[in-house]
Amino acid sequence: MRRGLALMAAASATLGAALTHAGVTPAVAVNDAAILEEGFARTLSEYGFFADGAQQLPGAGVTPYALNTPLWSDGAEKLRFIYLPDGTRMTADADGLLQFPVGAAIIKTFAFGEGPERRLIETRLLLHRADGWTALPYRWNAEQTEATLALAGGRIDLVTPAGEAISYAIPNKNQCKACHSKDGVVIPIGPKARNLPAEWLGQMAKRGALDTVPAGADSLPDWRNHATGPAAPLARAYLDVNCAHCHQPGGGASNSGLDLRWEQDDPHAIGIMKRPVAAGRGAGGHEFSILPGAPDQSILLYRMDSAEPGIAMPEIGKSSVDREGSAVVRRWILEMQQ
């Protein structure tokens, strides 16, 4: 119990604003067997990740976190948590990636609406089992009392924060893997040290939940400065977080030859003067992924600015256009020397 309290204290220090009920003591223990054993729990509550699911109050061993530059999903509010079994910790590898112990879980809840109007739509889980990571989507009921396994995904009509009425897609289990896979193996993509606040990493290290804060931590820009910050790092961070899980060697779109990872520094690989391969009508009549100085002749931006299947990028996880992300990428391409 003391451990739980300590975690909550750490959580509230980092995310105090996001946790309106941070003072509530979690009373639920996480069901480690549900994480580790074969098969899939039918309901989210079986895992015991939350002291209060509807309020998204984490249970013991469950720590909230936030990312510098988050993945955009139709403007959904995302509530992110890491669960580490008692007595285990994360380790930072040579590339600054966080490695999780078997038995860990990464939990992400998608919500729309603010304050009392907030509705939880789905919670996605990554469970670290002995044979690797398993990705599962859970869909919240209308009463907001429980989320049930949605292996085949689903759709729900809702209005985005931008005011657009959309058919929001909950991914199916395979689509989870479509983004979370590299060389055919499911991996976490969010919690990389470079995209996590140094303060949070430091707290985790201090209390033994992380071996060390790796070099390069907290190097991605803070997306909250997207409107005024320098375009290049913001755009590259945005493309890394939103696109590079597929667009990298070994990723789902490796055959395109486009590599949008933060660390990629070959101009052609990130799309500059790169011709399309299998873009089809996604090319929009343009010849290059990025034509420097010409955002309106750049395939990359054309596809970001579309919500139409067959054209839109990313292919899954969006039903509307991220105007803010698009504006940053536009600014970046415009600044490039022709």
Binding site: A152, H268, V277, H286, G310, E315
Partner: protein, 401 residues
């Protein structure tokens, strides 16, 4: 002895004895039932699509090795994506040893069926159709295996693709046979791939019939060892409807069999008729590129005996009419850009006296406006290179027995 045979059979199939059959009927909740079956199937299982129309709003995906998806026939079991609202393709396969057979995909918003990193895949009696005919709004590829070793496409049919009907990319050990490609920009395209056989297909009413391309800047390059034989490539004269920007948007209407870059492509015993820009076209990569790993030239492309008409009577490129007049009303059947890596590495070889013409370009990437057209003068070919081991592995053919 009997036990031995059993054991051998088990080893050969690599599938558990208790393979399950999951039968999915169309109608209420079919999309969810089908996707769940594709997720929960175990290796060796079969997912059976009953006859009827499955109305789908999202892409389907399969990520379990050794699964067969079987319909009641390409005219009977139809995955209808006309109302698709998400995903980049109709069906995505990312697992190995999968067999897709006897069903159709209609009107996907992106590609039809994409299999990526899916080794030893069979497409048999698969139909992918954009029912509105050739339109730029149609998806890019119909049947789309990529980054795979072991691909067999047989008795399948694709029409309406705004890029290539049957497209195999960045793969090896490939057979595309006994299939029909009509009303696509490219009928059949083998791109950045090796060890491929394209045979006994009927390829008509596309912009270009059969294309063998190698492009720069991709993870897998160095296409070659391709055998194109016994195909009927006729009447490919549909105006190019590819969205601009794509490489096939540059394919002239009326192209029969076209090779760009690549090494060792053997073209023999095809019937090539009524392709009014060029029955055969052999060229280097046409664009600028910056990729030291890439060879832009055609090397050792052999045009052997084929049944071909007198040549091109309505070429789809600037200055075509003047050229026609200069050649007496018909351009001879083989068109070459005149570019080769060096004198010891001929781009094109054919039967001495086979009629053809050359653009006589002098450097890669040169504008067509600088062409100096003249008669074809290329070496004669010798013995075929060793072709054993090319094409889909025998195990894939055996699955269809």
């Amino acid at each position: 002895m009997k036990r031995l045979v059993m054991a051998a059979a088990l080893l050969a199939s690599a599938a558990p004895l208790a393979a399950e059959i999951h039968t999915i009927a169309p109608g209420e909740g079919a999309a969810e039932r089908l996707q769940e079956a594709l997720i929960l199937a175990a290796p060796g299982d079969e997912v059976v699509l009953e006859a009827g129309r499955f109305v789908l709003t999202d892409g389907l995906s399969l990520d379990v090795d050794g699964v067969t998806v079987r319909g009641a026939g390409p005219a009977l079991s139809i995955l209808d994506f006309t109302a698709q609202a998400g995903a980049g393709e109709g069906l995505l396969v990312t697992s190995d040893n999968v067999t897709l057979r006897d069903f159709a995909v209609e009107n996907p918003k992106g590609d039809g069926i994409k299999s990526k990193g899916a080794d030893n895949i069979v497409y048999h009696r698969i139909r992918v159709t954009w029912t509105g005919g050739p339109k730029a709004e149609n998806g890019a590829y119909g049947i789309y295996p990529v980054e795979s070793t072991g691909v067999l496409v047989s008795h399948s049919e694709v029409s309406g693709a705004s890029d290539a009907g049957i497209y195999v990319g960045q793969s090896s050990k490939i057979t595309v046979r006994n299939s029909i490609a009509t009303d696509n920009v490219a009928g059949i395209e083998i791109e950045n791939s090796r060890d491929a056989i394209v045979t006994q297909n009927y390829v008509t009413r596309n912009t270009g019939g059969i294309l063998v391309f190698d492009l720069p800047g991709l993870p897998v390059m160095g296409g070659g060892n391709v055998l194109i034989t016994n195909n009927l490539v006729a009447g490919n004269n549909t105006p190019n409807f590819a969205p601009p920007g794509n490489i096939v948007a540059g394919v002239p209407r009326g192209t029969g069999i076209m090779v760009m870059a690549n090494e060792q492509v053997w073209i023999e015993d095809n019937v090539v008729q009524d392709n009014p820009t060029a029955p055969f076209m052999v060229v280097a990569y046409t664009q600028e590129f910056d990729d030291a790993r890439y060879n832009p030239f055609a090397r050792a492309v052999v045009i052997a005996n084929n049944v071909v008409d007198a040549g091109a009577t309505d070429p789809d490129f600037p200055g075509g009419a003047m050229l026609l007049a200069a050649f007496g009303g018909t351009l001879p059947p083989i068109m070459w850009d005149g570019l080769q890596q060096d004198a010891d590495t001929p781009a094109l070889l054919t039967i001495p006296g086979n009629p053809g013409w050359s653009l006589n370009l002098s450097r890669q990437g040169q504008s067509l406006a600088e062409a100096q057209p003249g008669p074809l003068d290329v070496p004669a070919y010798g013995q075929p290179w060793a072709m054993d081991g090319i094409g889909a592995p025998a195990e894939l053919e055996a699955r269809l027995k």
